[in-house]
Amino acid sequence: MKNLFYFTVLSFLFSPITYGHHAFTAEFDANAPINITGKVVKVEWINPHAWVHVEVKEGSKATVWMVEGGTPNTLIRNGLTKNSIKPGTVINVRGYQSKGKLCLPRCIANGRDITFPDGRKVFMGSSGTGAPRDGSDPRER
């Protein structure tokens, strides 16, 4: 009985903490939605998160936004390939800015959806990360 007690205590002590990969609230601010339009300057098609770099121009000032997306696998399932967001493509991105907002050297955001010049809208995030339920995820209920 005593052994069982020790075993239970230790099992709890060493049980892994369970939360989704890279929870939304750890890095991004749900109260800082962004809606940016600009030219794609770089696409990092990498696991576990792809990054789309978008250059936003305001007058003569250009800011680069690094927008986090889902895994290459999720993006392809949603209809987004490496070739459909080639550098030079103008896109509109909705998402949420990171908690740090100094934009040094670039602004960082979590992307929700991308709208192409022809009006096509694609969900670029991952489901179940704890991001706000803003309707951009078609699988969200």
Binding site: N3, Y6, F7, N47, P48, T71, S98, L104
Partner: protein
């Protein structure tokens, strides 16, 4: 070292791995499952050596039966771990949690070396006297604490709080992550 990881990141297989649709998640899942096997088996041997549980089992027998599983877990864990590093070399190299993890693995490895040397020499004596030396109990607890910390820091690699492309960071953080930053960008920002 930095030039080496940059070169690694530009190799064909590194790109294929981080762009892959299935291979990367498979390797990542296998890494986690092999950690379960490695840590899960090591846990029981370490607990036995604390003298608190399973005292009716022979340390020598337990070690002989469980060690091959632990080693198999370690092998798969190491191979998948290296592949995960190889897929994203630059970011991992500059990740503070990755560096902490490697440091902890080295310390845990040294502890494991002495632990197992004593185990193979003395386990039969401990069984006969049904007592375990205190230094061995401490080594078992050290092993549990260190390997748990390795797992926790490994989990933290996913977070980019201290990443090089996320500035401004305190200078000591950038030093620890070998991140070269133009601090003139931060002029006028509080705390810099």
């Amino acid at each position: 070292m930095f030039d080496f990881v940059v070169w690694l990141s530009e190799t064909k297989w590194s790109i294929a791995l981080h762009e892959s649709l299935y291979l990367y998640p498979w390797i990542e899942s296998t890494h986690v499952l092999s950690i379960c096997l490695f840590f899960g088996t090591l846990l029981f041997v370490d607990l036995r050596l604390t003298g608190k549980v399973f005292n009716n089992l022979s340390v020598a027998d337990m070690n002989r039966k469980v060690l091959p599983l632990t080693l198999f877990g370690f092998l798969v864990m190491s191979v998948t771990g290296l592949l995960l590093f190889y897929a994203i070399p630059v970011r991992n190299y500059q990740n503070i949690f990755f560096r902490i993890k490697i440091l902890l693995i080295v310390i845990a490895g040294i502890n494991a070396f002495f632990f197992h040397r004593r185990m193979s020499n003395e386990a039969k004596v401990w069984d006969k006297d049904s007592s375990i030396p205190n230094s061995m109990k401490n080594s078992a607890i050290t092993s549990l604490v260190l390997w748990s910390s390795v797992i926790i820091s490994g989990r933290m690699i996913a977070y980019n709080w201290f990443d090089c492309d996320r500035q401004p960071q305190p200078k000591w953080i950038n030093t620890l992550t070998s991140c070269e930053v133009d601090y003139s960008l931060f002029e006028g920002i509080d705390g810099f």
